[in-house]
Structures are given as structure tokens and as C-alpha cells.
Assembly symmetry: C2
Homo-oligomer: 287 residues x 2
């Protein structure tokens, strides 16, 4: 275990993401206290060895790092409920897929209290949610996005960055909530809406024997958890609706070119898209 | 090598698919004759060991199986040019991603000639085309779609099926050109149009650090070969335009539910899509 001085860590919420944090923390040698509302689930997670103990709010006083792995509204509810329980100077980080809806309110809750809130979003997931699908390896190669209210001193940032790298993350990216929500609306939310829309076409159910990798890639994330994603989509509705509209515009251009039946304009559209794809690939290789 | 009586095989066109057929044929022990227009390319393929010899039309007389691995118009051109060269009773199979535009005309060309044409479409591909990306393993786990003009006798079908299974295919599926084109418009063509549309949203270029698996899956096939795909899309324009319209309809429903900001109706849409996805997965597991 790295000596980053964080000591034992509280993980509140033990679904796919919280469970994976707990397991990755245990793997690096941290002591992990789990907080879950459902006692049966708490016991199951304890028996699975993903946490050292089931904790309640009293334990928050003794820990300098708390990961809140709950959906947006539940995360804010947790912060409100425990605003007076956190240890002075402790760091409280959430994992929500939207940041405006969480950070602004979380920073208000932290005002005048002794704890520091940092918005977090691990860019890792799986097509199936729940503790049963969690893994100590979930974050391997992923980036961890952090939204600080004010830039931390370099040595403090390095300590936090080192913590996340020790859990398998590839890099830590900092941004502000508005930028996060705007880009995530495309890279994650639109991809999920697309997958969920694509399977609705009647022909999807006839795919057997007529499909290959492109079909499988397209449908992979179509079976979302409706409670989790309906909240995230609506919290980011302005950005996501704009992304869908922009995509519908491009699809319309392709459809019109295809319907017109002239190869030249269609080939030009295809080439433009291919050039963007290659730009994205090249940036990835560099970065 | 299996004793299916096909003897040496001619592969006309040695791009990604033709090259992969040549390599898979060599791997199972077949003698392979390659036909390519460009002499420099023919020599390169020969040197790479993917074929035993470079052939011209004269060789067709000596082979009972010809795989035409060319785009639709070029494949028909090849059939017209060599209609008199094929050996009596020989089997000529194309690999085009559309079947109406190829089969009807190919069957006309075969009328009164001694060869039998069967429409083929291997459900395998890669995001990069060309012989350089071909592989003897490309067809592993894939299905091979065949369109027969009339159902062949069972023993003849078994012989053809055995041939494709010996190249790594998982199964052989038979259908008619119209059904093929209707389903493929969704499972392959729409997936490609979607990917090429998705990368056009401005935020795609800002993805670095803000993306994970769903973004990568979504963009994988966005860099299509414009010559190949513009032809395939336009040959299947009625089906593909209808697929795009159907998808735009679903995207609009998601957008409206998201914009309305009420979780209930949005969650219901998400659940419907998830149920379809699970249906597709269950059908895959069964068979």
C-alpha cells in the first residue's frame, strides 16, 4: 500500500462502482468501511470480503477520505444527512455521471462545515450494474475525472492523483462541472441513448445469423438500469437533448444522400466522417 | 484438407475479404489461384504466400469453385467478362454486402451458361480494409449467408456448408436476396451510418479523458472506405433509408422524454429497450 496518508476509506454505496472501489482499495491494502442502507446487502458485501466492516455515520469522523458511490439525488441526501459527521479537513468525493447537479449543491452543503467536497466521475462501467458485477480491475486503463471547487495546491493534487492511480486508473483529468456535463452528454450518455434506440428497430430481433461485430458493439449498452440512467439523463437534459438533435441532423444528411442515390455526395460525407475518426484515433495515440 | 471434391479454388479480388478467403483456404490445404487486375498487387499477394499462383480467365475452366470477392458492380462485370470461361457445373459465389443488386443480374448472366451462381455474404469484417488487414482467422465464429436460386439437394448443400465451416465459419445461413438486404440494412449498414454520424457531433473531438468503452464501441467503424460503402448503401437505399427513419423516430422519442424532464416516461422507454436487448441476448444464447 502506498503511504498517501489517507488511512482507512469509507465507501458509501456498494453497487458496481462502489463495490469496485472497495475491492480495488482492499487490493492495494487499504482498510475499507462500507456504508449501505440495506443490512442484508451490507452483510453480503462483508462476506464477499470487499470491505473490512460495515459502518454507520459515526465512522465518518475517523476517516479522512469518503467515496460516495450513490446516484445524484441519493449522494446529495447522504451529504446532507452526514454534513456534521465528516472529520475536519476530510475529503469527500462522489462518483456521479453528472456534475453540475451534484457539485453546486454539494459545495453549498460543505460551506461552513469542516469537509472538502470534490466532484468525481470514474470513466469506467459495465453493461451490467450491481455489486455482483463489481471488480477490483474495473478502473484499469480508465481516466478519473475530478472537479475541484478551487485548484488544490500541487502537492495535494499529487496526493489525490496518486491515490486514484493506485486503484488502477490510467490518469486523472480535472475539469469544471459544466464542461464535464457537456462532453459526457456525447461520449457516454448519447452512446447509451443510441444503443437503446438502435435495438428498437424492428429488424434488430431478426439479427441472428445476419450480424457481426458492428451490431454487437452497437447493442452492448442497450440494457441500461432505468432508475440510474433516467436520473442522469434528466439531470443533463439540456446537453443531451442538444446532442441527440445534432446526431439526428447528421443521420438525416446521410439518409438524404442515400435516398438521392448519387455516390459522389454520399462518398464525400463518408470521407468527412472517416477523417474525423482518424483525427480521434491520432489524438488518442499521441495522448 | 477435407475431401469435399472442390479441388483448387479461384479467388477473384484480394482485398480484406478475398485475401482472408485465400489465406483461410491455404490454411486448410487448398490450392488457391488469385485473380487481380493490378499486377503489382498480384505479385505482392503471391509473395505473401496467400495464393499459389496468379491466374487469368483461362484458369477458371480448370476450377469447380470460384469466389468473387469484389464490390457489386465489379463482381457483375467480372461475371459478364468471364461468363464463357467458367467450367461446366462450377460454383461461382460472390461476397457482396448487398444481394438483390447482385443476385438477380448474376442469375441472368448464368442463364444458359454452364455455371451456377450462389449469392454469398460472410458476416465478418474489420474496421480497416485491404489485403494488408486480411487474416486466415477473419471468419472464425462468423456466419456465412448464402442465397441459392433454388434450394440445392441436401447432399450438395452439406458439401457447400462443410466447405465454409472448414474455413472457420460457425454456421451457414440461407435466405433470399430481399430478406438479406432488409435485415442487413439494420445489422450492418445502419450500424455503420450511425458510427459515421456519431463522430460528427462537435463534442466527439473533445473526448480524450472523458470517454470509455461505450464511446469506443460507437466510433469503431466510423472510418469506412467511401468507395465500398457508398456503393453498398445506394444499392440498398430503400431499406437503409427506412432504417434510418425508424431510428430517428426512436431518438426523437428519447429526446422528447428527456427534454420533458419526467423520469417515469423516460424510465419506461429505457425499460422497453432493455427488454428488447435481453430478448436478443437470450436468443443468441439459445442458438
Amino acid at each position: 500500500m502506498k503511504e498517501d496518508g489517507f488511512g482507512p476509506v469509507v465507501v458509501a454505496g456498494l453497487g458496481l462502482i462502489g463495490g469496485s472501489f472497495a475491492k480495488a482499495l482492499k487490493k492495494r491494502g487499504s482498510r475499507v468501511f462500507g456504508m449501505v442502507r440495506d443490512p442484508a446487502k451490507a452483510l453480503a458485501v462483508l462476506r464477499a470480503g470487499a470491505i473490512d466492516a460495515v459502518a454507520d455515520g459515526a465512522m465518518l469522523k475517523e476517516c479522512s477520505l469518503v467515496l460516495v458511490a450513490l446516484p445524484p439525488a441519493a449522494a446529495l441526501e447522504f451529504l446532507r444527512e452526514h454534513a456534521g459527521d465528516f472529520a475536519p479537513g476530510s475529503l469527500v468525493i462522489d462518483i456521479c455521471g453528472v456534475k453540475r447537479a451534484v457539485c453546486d449543491e454539494a459545495w453549498r452543503i460543505a460551506d461552513g462545515r469542516g469537509f472538502r467536497f470534490v466532484g468525481g466521475h470514474p470513466m469506467a462501467g459495465k453493461e451490467r450494474s450491481g455489486f455482483g458485477n463489481s471488480s477490483a480491475e474495473l478502473f484499469r486503463g480508465a481516466s478519473m475525472i475530478l472537479c475541484f471547487r478551487e485548484p488544490p495546491p500541487p502537492e495535494e493534487f499529487a496526493r489525490i492523483e496518486g491515490f486514484f492511480l493506485s486503484l488502477g486508473f490510467d490518469r486523472v483529468v480535472t475539469t469544471d462541472p459544466a464542461t464535464h456535463d457537456r462532453i459526457i452528454a456525447h461520449t457516454s450518455q448519447l452512446a447509451h441513448v443510441l444503443s437503446a434506440s438502435y435495438v428498437r428497430n424492428r429488424a434488430a430481433r431478426e439479427h441472428s445469423g445476419f450480424s457481426a461485430g458492428s451490431f454487437r458493439d452497437m447493442i452492448r449498452v442497450a440494457a441500461m438500469d432505468d432508475a440510474v440512467w433516467s436520473e442522469l439523463f434528466i439531470d443533463n437534459r439540456d446537453n443531451l437533448a442538444a446532442e441527440i438533435d445534432e446526431l439526428i441532423g447528421s443521420l438525416g444528411r446521410f439518409r438524404d444522400a442515400i435516398r438521392a442515390g448519387e455516390r459522389g455526395p454520399l462518398a464525400a460525407l463518408i470521407r468527412e466522417s472517416a477523417a474525423i475518426k482518424r483525427e480521434i484515433d491520432a489524438a488518442d495515440t499521441k495522448g
